[in-house]
C-alpha cells in the first residue's frame, strides 16, 4: 500500500508494500507478510554466496553515491581477525529526502532483516543503526522492533539457532547534517565531533573504532531481504533498459506538486511519469520551473531537462544532474530561484563542520553574496565571484559538503541567470534589508 497516497499503477511496489500498515510494524505482522525468511535462508548460505547474490543483483547504494553494494561488501577482509562492524546510515537529512523515514517507521523489521543479513555477509557481530536525533517516531518504532527481534531469536547471541551472534544497537544523532557522511558518522558513534575523516584509509580497512566497517543506507539494506528471497535475477530484471541501474528506487517528491510523497519506481522510469502521473503535476494554474532531482546537493534541472530525463543513475547524469538520494524538490513558476538558492547556501553554511577552509569560508561567503544580491546591492562582478568561489569549493575538501553548496549556485546561475540580473539591475524589489 502506498503512503500517504494509494500506490499508483505505474509504481513497482517492493520496499514500500506495507507502508501505512501498522500491523507490519510488529514482529508477528512482519512474519505473516513473509518476513525473516530471507534471514533464515541467508544464514544457511555461505557468507561469500550472500555477497555474490547481492553483487549479481546490481544493487547500488541508495544513499546518494550509487556505489555497487555487493562490491562494497566484498572489500571487507575474508578472515575476521579484528571485529567487523556494519553501520546503517539512518541520518536522513538531505533536503528533499524523506524515504528512509518511512522504512524506519512503517517496516522496521524489513530494515533489521537487511541489517542482519548484511552483518552475517561481512562477518560483523554488531550493527549500529545511526538514527538522526529529530526522528523521534522512527526511534520509538525501531526500539520496539529490536526488542521484539531479540525476543524472537532473530537477533542475539545465536540468531535463529545458527550459532552466529548478530546484535543491533541504535545510536541517536543530535542534529548535524554532516553526520550523514560516512566517516563523520563513525566519529559521531565514537563520541566525537562529526568531522569527516580523510580517505584512505577506507572504512573496509580502518573504519569504526579503527576496524573493518561497512556503511550502508537504510533503503539499500531494506532491499537485501527481497534479493535473497527472490534472487538476483529477479532484481536485475527490474530495469527498463539500462543494466547499470537495476531494481526499484524510492523517490521522495516534495514542493510544488499536487501529491507530494514517496513513490517506488523501477529504475529507468521516465521522470515525466513521476512528476505528472504519480504526483499529479503542478498546482492548478501553475507550470513547473525547476527540479532538483537528487536531494539539494545536485545541480538544478530546468523543467525541460526534468521532463526529458530517464530516472536512473545514468539517465539523470545525461541531463546534467545526479540521481543522488532521489529526493526531488519541485519548484513551480511562482518560485524565486535566487531566494531559494540563497536558502540552500545558508543550509550548507550552517551545516559545515568547519574543518576545511574552502568549505567554512566558502559556504558563508556564498551566502553573504546572495544576501547582498537579494538586498538589491548586487554587482555584475558577483556572478564571476560566485563562480570562482564555487570552483574553489569543488573537489578540494575532505568531504563533498562544499561541492554540494556549489552545485545549486553554479547550475542556478547557468540556468536562471535572468533572475539574478533582475535583482542586480533593480528591476526586482529587494526582499532583504541591506547588511
Amino acid at each position: 500500500m502506498g503512503y500517504p497516497h494509494p500506490s499508483h499503477p505505474k509504481e513497482t511496489v517492493v520496499l514500500s508494500k506495507h507502508f501505512g500498515d501498522p500491523e507490519a510494524r510488529t514482529y508477528a505482522g512482519w512474519v505473516k507478510h513473509g518476513g525473516y525468511q530471507a534471514l533464515r535462508k541467508a544464514l544457511g548460505m555461505s557468507r561469500e554466496a550472500v555477497i555474490e547474490e547481492v553483487k549479481n543483483s546490481g544493487l547500488r547504494g541508495r544513499g546518494g553515491a550509487g556505489f555497487p553494494t555487493g562490491l562494497k561488501w566484498s572489500f571487507m577482509p575474508k578472515e575476521v581477525v579484528k571485529p567487523h562492524y556494519l553501520v546503517c546510515n539512518a541520518d536522513e537529512s538531505e533536503p528533499g529526502t524523506f524515504k528512509d523515514r518511512e522504512i524506519l517507521r512503517w517496516t522496521p523489521h524489513q530494515l533489521l532483516e537487511g541489517c542482519a543479513i548484511a552483518s552475517y555477509a561481512i562477518g560483523a557481530e554488531r550493527c549500529y543503526i545511526y538514527i538522526r536525533g529529530e526522528f523521534t517516531e522512527p526511534w520509538r518504532v525501531m526500539t520496539a522492533a529490536v526488542e521484539e527481534a531479540v525476543a524472537n531469536g532473530a537477533l542475539g547471541d545465536n540468531a535463529f539457532g545458527s550459532g552466529k551472534r548478530i546484535e543491533v544497537v541504535l545510536h541517536r544523532g543530535a542534529g548535524a547534517y554532516i553526520c550523514g557522511e560516512e566517516t563523520a558518522m563513525m566519529n559521531s558513534i565514537e563520541g566525537k565531533r562529526g568531522n569527516p575523516r580523510i580517505k584512505p584509509p577506507f572504512p573496509a580497512v580502518a573504519g569504526l573504532f579503527g576496524v573493518p566497517t561497512t556503511i550502508n543506507n537504510v533503503e539499500t539494506l531494506a532491499a537485501v531481504p527481497h534479493i535473497i528471497n527472490r534472487g538476483a535475477d529477479w532484481y536485475k530484471g527490474l530495469c527498463l533498459g539500462n543494466p547499470k541501474s537495476t531494481g526499484t528506487k524510492l523517490v521522495s517528491v516534495c514542493g510544488h506538486v499536487q501529491r507530494p510523497g514517496n513513490y517506488e519506481v523501477t529504475m529507468g522510469t521516465p521522470m515525466r511519469d513521476i512528476l505528472y502521473d504519480m504526483c499529479g503535476g503542478p498546482p492548478p494554474g501553475r507550470t513547473f520551473k525547476a527540479v532538483i532531482p537528487g536531494g539539494s546537493s545536485v545541480p538544478i534541472m530546468t523543467r525541460e531537462e526534468a521532463e526529458e530525463a530517464i530516472f536512473d543513475y545514468e539517465g539523470v547524469v545525461a541531463k546534467g544532474s545526479m540521481l543522488g538520494s532521489a529526493g526531488m524538490i519541485v519548484m513551480d513558476d511562482s518560485t524565486d530561484m535566487v531566494y531559494q538558492i540563497w536558502r540552500l547556501a545558508r543550509f550548507y553554511a550552517h551545516e559545515s563542520c568547519a574543518q576545511c577552509t574552502q568549505c567554512r569560508e566558502g559556504t558563508a561567503w556564498t551566502t553573504r553574496i546572495l544576501e547582498r544580491i537579494l538586498a538589491g546591492k548586487g554587482k555584475q562582478e558577483d556572478f564571476q565571484l560566485l563562480l570562482d568561489l564555487s570552483e574553489n569549493m569543488t573537489g578540494k575538501t575532505i568531504c563533498v559538503l562544499s561541492d554540494s553548496c556549489a552545485a545549486p549556485v553554479v547550475s542556478g546561475i547557468q540556468k536562471f541567470r535572468s533572475e539574478f540580473e533582475a535583482y542586480i539591475a533593480g528591476a526586482r524589489e529587494p526582499v532583504m534589508a541591506a547588511v
Binding site: R101, E134, V169, A174, G175, G191, R193
Partner: protein, 173 residues
C-alpha cells in the same frame, strides 16, 4: 563525588544534583556493554542529561566528563557541535520548525511567524514571558513531503499551516 559538580546549576542556592545515580547510572552501565569504548557513550549520556534536566549545564558537562573518563573541555567541544543539545535553559515546550528550501517554498516562513506571534516568543530562540515556549528555526527535518513539519518536544507534527498553530499550541500547557 565530582570535582566539577557542586557549583550550582544556574543559581547559588541550588547545588548540582548528579544525574548518573541510581537507575540512570544503571542505564548508563548497560550502554557501556554496547560499545567498545566509554567515549562512545558520550552522545547517549548527553541525551540522558537533557532528558533529566532540560538542558546541559557546565556542572553537567563536568559530571559527564567524570563518568566517561573524558575532560570537560572535550565534552564541551562535542556538546557545542550538535545543534540539538541545549547549552542554556529553554521553555517548557521546545518547538523546532523546518524552513529549508522544500518547506520554504511551501510556506514555512509563515508558520514561523504564526508560532512566534501565538506563543508570545516574539523572536527566534527567545523564551515566551510565561516560560512556556521556545521556538527555533531548524534545517531539514526529513519530512519534506509533509511541509511544514515541526517538532514540539518529541512530538513530530506534519503538514502544519499558520491556521493550525493556535490549536496545536493549546495541547501544550
Amino acid at each position: 563525588m565530582s570535582t566539577h559538580g557542586g557549583h550550582g546549576a544556574g543559581t547559588e542556592t541550588a547545588p548540582y544534583e548528579p544525574v548518573f545515580v541510581g537507575p540512570a547510572r544503571a542505564r548508563l552501565e548497560q550502554l557501556f556493554l554496547k560499545y567498545p569504548t566509554r567515549q562512545s557513550c558520550l552522545l547517549p549520556a548527553l541525551w540522558m542529561v537533557q532528558e533529566a534536566r532540560g538542558w546541559i549545564s557546565e556542572p553537567a558537562i563536568g559530571e559527564v566528563a567524570d563518568v566517561l573518563g573524558l575532560t570537560p573541555a572535550y565534552v564541551k567541544g562535542v556538546v557545542t557541535f550538535y545543534t540539538m543539545y541545549h547549552t542554556h535553559p529553554v521553555g517548557r515546550h521546545f518547538i523546532q520548525v523546518c524552513t529549508t528550501s522544500p518547506c520554504n517554498i511551501c510556506g514555512a516562513e509563515d508558520v514561523v511567524k504564526a508560532l512566534l506571534r501565538e506563543t508570545g516568543c516574539g523572536e527566534l530562540g527567545a523564551t515566551s514571558p510565561d516560560g512556556r515556549f521556545t521556538v527555533i528555526e531548524v534545517e531539514c527535518l526529513g519530512a519534506c513531503g509533509f511541509a511544514t513539519p515541526i517538532l514540539v518536544d518529541d512530538d513530530f507534527l506534519e503538514n502544519v499551516t499558520p491556521e493550525k498553530v493556535p490549536g496545536i499550541l493549546q495541547r501544550y500547557v
